[in-house]
């Protein structure tokens, strides 16, 4: 069933069977109590299948995923030497973090170092467990 590339990007029909059944099965007039439908291969597919609840799994997945996100500031820091110099400076922390987003181990090492510095008033650990604090500074503005 092809639904792509219709004029104005509107598909004439639902692409999923669940949405087709929503009209012809779930919403249709039921004549009398005797009508029964045996849908070969799709009996189990119910309209309620999409009912989902926020699960602990979701929260855990989000917690892990955010840590792995590759959120890059617009300005690119060129080369590792440049990074290390900035780390030493301790003034461009968020840029460093952004650039190191894909290098988790390194970034966490950097974060450890920075957490210890007295100028880190921005660290906000109010809602986090003791001993683990999230980097608190706003991500460097895209304008730099």
């Amino acid at each position: 069933m092809t639904v792509a590339s219709y004029p104005m990007g509107r598909a004439p029909r639902p692409s999923g069977l669940a949405d087709v059944l929503d009209v012809v099965l779930d919403k249709g007039i039921v004549i009398d109590a005797y009508v029964r439908v045996a849908l070969v291969g799709i009996e189990i597919l119910t309209i309620d299948a999409r009912i989902v609840i926020a699960s602990v799994d979701t929260y855990l997945r989000f917690a892990e995923a955010v840590n792995r996100l590759d959120i890059q500031p617009k300005e690119q820091v060129e080369g590792l030497p440049g990074l290390m110099r900035e780390v030493t400076d301790g003034t461009s922390r968020n840029r460093v973090k952004g650039a190191l987003g894909g290098l988790k181990e390194t970034a966490e090492d950097v974060a450890e170092v920075l957490r210890g510095t007295p100028s880190d008033s921005g660290v906000d650990a109010r809602d986090l467990p003791a001993g683990r604090s999230a980097p608190a500074e706003r991500r460097g503005g895209r304008g730099g």
């Binding site: 104005m8 004439p12 029909r13 009209v23 005797y34 029964r36 070969v40 929260y59 996100l69």
Partner: protein, 295 residues
């Protein structure tokens, strides 16, 4: 001859389904062999039916065919769907047991959706994009997951709250753009949980304003290229009208285990388990069994 029912329309509904030059597909109903669609009229109403002696198995293709037939009808006037898989013993039963019982209410329901069609949008965004945008410029960006399980759940919950808040704000902007073009609208799915869709919404739109709505959806797409927007329709406006979900006929209950048309009595066919595993044996495929069972 038993007939498959597809929808109920006005008695004067134009019936171009068989005349249109778009191939035999939509003009034919479900069953083996597929028969032409026709109208069975009674008073102000008509049922769209096709004859069949063997409905056969109902699967995805039959569900799609049923929907296609409804959409073809919709092009010429209001239609209310009959549930997929409804088979009546003959035309007379359609008149006396389907159309006559609903003559007092259904015409008004058809009037209510005359000239209106249903469209819907299902909008998703990649989880990576959602998370990145939601936590950006918050203290949660790059938050390393705590080792402690409870703390990890707590962190994830805060992230989920941000994701949902961002989705909600975005959804409201989109709805603000589209609602002025719709007569009514309503959610198609639950919203507000982290596993819920970014937006899943149905709109009741005048058929002659379809192009305006198309254009508005295109503007939404253009303004938010990161969204995956499924835009579907026009469909019968079933979500915006209260029509009788059940039509009680006066037919006596029948033994659903009997060896009748497909095994379930006057209407419909097939016990689920039986139908699932086997096609109807040849000696049962004829339509006569149903009528025999009536008396």
């Amino acid at each position: 001859m038993p007939v498959v029912l597809y929808g109920i329309v006005r008695a004067d509904h134009p019936f171009p389904v068989q005349k249109r030059d778009t191939g035999p597909g939509p003009a034919l109903g479900i069953g083996h062999p597929a028969a032409s669609l026709r109208l069975v009229r009674s008073g102000p109403l008509a049922a769209v039916v096709s004859e069949t002696s063997d409905v056969g198995e109902l699967g995805e293709q039959e569900a799609i065919r049923h929907l296609e037939i409804l959409q073809r009808l919709l092009a010429d006037g209001p239609v209310l769907p009959v549930r997929l898989g409804t088979v009546a013993p003959d035309d007379e039963a359609v008149r006396t047991e389907v159309l006559e019982p609903v003559q007092d209410g259904l015409p008004e329901q058809l009037d209510a959706i005359d000239g209106l069609v249903e469209l819907y949008l299902d909008i998703e965004e990649s989880e990576q994009t959602e998370l990145a945008e939601a936590v950006a410029r918050t203290p949660l960006a790059y938050a390393p997951p705590p080792d402690d399980l409870d703390a990890r759940i707590q962190l994830g919950q805060r992230i989920a709250d941000l994701v949902v808040a961002r989705r909600t704000a975005q959804a409201e902007e989109i709805l603000d753009d589209l609602r002025p073009l719709a007569r009514a609208d309503r959610p198609r799915r639950h919203h507000g949980g982290p596993e819920d869709p970014a937006l899943s919404w149905a709109f009741l739109v005048p058929a002659d304003r379809l192009s305006d709505f198309d254009a508005a959806v295109e503007r939404v797409r253009a303004a938010r290229p990161s969204l995956k927007v499924d835009y579907v329709g026009p469909l019968p406006a079933v979500d915006f009208v209260d029509f009788p979900a059940h039509v009680r006929t006066t037919a006596p209950a029948v033994d659903t285990t009997g060896d009748t048309f497909g095994g379930s009595g006057r209407w419909g066919w097939g016990g689920e388990g039986e139908q699932r595993n086997t096609r109807e044996p040849a000696d049962r495929a004829g339509g006569g069994g149903t009528r025999d069972d009536r008396e």
